[in-house]
């Protein structure tokens, strides 16, 4: 942390924290974003379905419905400002049995009240639009979309950073206390003073909230496991395909999601677990994912799977209670200028822009924020060479030999993109950092081909030592050292 004093400290660099940081960077105010991991988006933000929801599950009038609707209608614009992929694929909520059809009308009723555009469609429509999907009827939502959740989080952070927000990675908050008129935020890397604290700590938001005298909420971690299918399977469907939400399960049910990269995701499961950081996957659940996915899409086979992963929802009700709970975004009972965001789970990605706006308005009410005329709303991401038309490719390759070398052959990523990823403004230089920024290692060979090459670029172009090259976390060293000449 560069300074002693800040106006506002945001705790948590997930999609919500970074969206708030970006929103605040429109104003003349000193903002510090504190993230305990060595990159942004390391919690649920990196491991969700990447869906921009159209808002038909949250009850009318709820905060969740409001911020979700705001997000849905602004997402395309935000993604275009921030150079983040966005695709309006539309969604089908499919009734596989006759008796589920009534529930579709229920969903449509809630959704329309929230302002979503929704239609009930029959078997013919499903057959025509998604011939591989089996269902009796469906609710069709044309405004549902997909994005890249990691690229978005990174883009929010980079845009905020470019507009003056300081981002302190690898920084863990240990204690927050009131010191005169300010808050003292003690971290494992020193102490700062700030006028406002925004607790956007996701799975740890209850722990952070406790520093503000807020003890009414407890996080119940709820894991969602996913399967990723090979791009070869992408022809099987092109829209989001969801089941009718299972009753009282607290999740949306296992669904099929096309990704902006061209894969299909199966998941997530819904498992309450004991520990907030247990991101394991399990055989039982993975077997279940395949089984349930095949209910909609019988052509899915196990050998299409290239990866499994899981993310953890921060729920604020225990499994035995279940049902709907709204997002909690409120001033702490003790201090007005300590804002807690608790229980931000699905549709947290869609809602992030709305939440950011909501939080900034809360602050603006307390302290008139002054607009920063120099605010730049656009941010340029890494040029995705292979997506460009050939003329443009030739032009780039002409000037820069690094565009002539394809490093990741599954995703067709050039050496220049790897270098760009390693040169990111946040200074992240892990293998996963490259993955989330340039997509390398994300394909069917899972780095089997490109990893050795990326390592070589890290060594040759960035002078990194073998022993300091990490997968993701600070202790996730990839290698033991040199094979020869080691000792």
């Amino acid at each position: 942390m560069k300074k002693q004093n800040y106006d506002i400290a945001i705790i948590g660099g997930g999609v919500v924290g970074t969206a708030i940081a970006r929103e605040l960077s429109r104003y003349k105010t000193d903002v510090l974003l504190i993230e305990k991991e060595n990159d942004v988006g390391q919690g649920a933000s990196n491991s969700n379905s990447g869906v921009v929801h159209s808002g038909f599950t949250a009850p009318v009038g709820s905060l969740k419905a409001d911020v979700c609707m705001y997000g849905n209608s602004h997402f395309e614009e935000i993604c275009s400002e921030l150079d983040v992929p966005y695709e309006k694929t539309g969604k089908l909520v499919v009734a596989v049995e006759e008796k589920q059809i009534a529930e579709l009308y229920n969903l449509q009723y809630i959704g329309r009240k929230n302002g979503a555009e929704l239609y009930i469609v029959g078997e013919d429509f499903i057959e025509e639009k998604e011939p591989n999907i089996s269902g009796k009827a469906a609710m069709y939502s044309p405004n549902s979309a997909i994005t890249s959740p990691y690229e978005l989080t990174i883009a929010f952070a980079e845009n905020a950073h470019q507009n003056g927000v300081e981002i302190s990675l690898n920084t863990k908050v240990v204690e927050i206390s009131k010191k005169n008129s300010k808050f003292s935020v003690k971290t494992d890397r020193g102490e700062i003073l700030t006028d406002y604290v925004i607790n956007s700590a996701g799975l740890y938001s209850d722990e952070i909230a406790a520093f503000s005298g807020e003890d009414r909420y407890k996080i119940y971690p709820c894991r969602g496991e996913y399967y990723v299918l090979d791009k070869n399977a992408s022809g099987l469907m092109s829209r989001l395909v969801y089941p009718v939400p299972p009753e009282n399960a607290g999740g949306l049910g296992i669904h099929l999601t096309p990704t902006v990269e061209g894969n299909i995701l199966i998941g997530p499961s819904n498992e309450y677990i004991d520990s907030v950081d247990n991101e394991a996957t399990t055989k039982e659940v993975m077997d279940k994912l395949i089984k349930e996915a095949r209910d909609f899409l019988p052509k899915i086979t196990r050998d299409m799977v290239i990866r499994s992963y899981s993310g953890i929802r921060s729920k604020i009700v225990p499994p035995e209670v279940g049902g709907f709970t709204d997002f909690v975004i409120e001033k702490s009972p003790k201090y007005d200028n300590f804002i807690n965001l608790i229980g931000i789970e699905s549709p947290g990605l869609t809602s992030a822009p709305g939440i950011a706006k909501y939080v900034v308005e809360m602050i603006d009410e307390m302290e008139k924020l002054r607009e920063d005329k120099d605010f730049k709303k656009t941010r340029k991401g890494i040029t995705k060479f292979y997506e460009l038309p050939e003329e443009k490719q030739k032009e780039l390759a002409e000037d820069n030999p690094n565009y002539r070398e394809i490093v990741c052959r599954c995703e067709n990523i050039t050496k220049q993109e790897i270098i760009d990823a390693l040169n990111n403004p946040l200074g992240v230089q892990t293998l996963k950092g490259v993955k989330y920024r340039a997509r390398a290692t994300m394909g069917r060979c899972q780095g089997g081909y490109c990893m050795a090459r990326i390592i070589k670029i890290m060594q040759d172009e960035f002078d990194m030592d073998l022993e300091e090259i990490k997968l993701e976390g600070n202790n996730s060293n990839l290698f033991a050292g040199q094979a020869k000449g080691w000792g």
């Binding site: 094979a483 020869k484 000449g485 080691w486 000792g487």
Partner: protein, 123 residues
């Protein structure tokens, strides 16, 4: 006491299963090999197993940082690690051609370490 041992021959992909009965150094019975080399191999295995060691050695100034190497003849299995120790910190200068002798008599053994690939000078 006579001893009995089952040995899978490693000389070729046939991988013959050879049964050998012996008393100290004396072979009493041997069967299962498809060729005479197999019998010799089995006898050697009883006495003193021999292996060709393959590894790599660091290269300076080459277009690659390692050159793959082997012992030009089989060496006693029990001596393999001694050779590994000797070549761990060894460095050769590029260029290297296939068959070049990298080191004679490693660990005092009757063999040479030879290159199994070429390494050009890095330009």
């Amino acid at each position: 006491m006579t001893e009995e041992k089952d040995i899978s021959c490693i000389l070729c992909p046939n991988g013959c299963d050879i049964k050998i009965k012996y008393l100290d150094d004396e072979i009493i019975e041997i069967e299962g090999a498809l060729c005479p080399k197999g019998n010799d191999y089995a006898k050697q295995e009883i006495k003193n197993p021999m292996r060709t060691l393959t590894s790599s050695v660091m290269v300076e100034g080459g277009d690659t940082s390692l050159v793959s190497v082997k012992t030009d003849k089989p060496v006693p299995l029990e001596k393999v690690m001694d050779i590994m120790d000797v070549i761990d910190d060894l460095r050769v200068k590029a260029p290297v051609s296939v068959g070049d002798v990298i080191l004679d008599s490693p660990a005092g053994l009757d063999c040479s370490i030879v290159a199994t690939r070429e390494v050009k000078i890095n330009i």
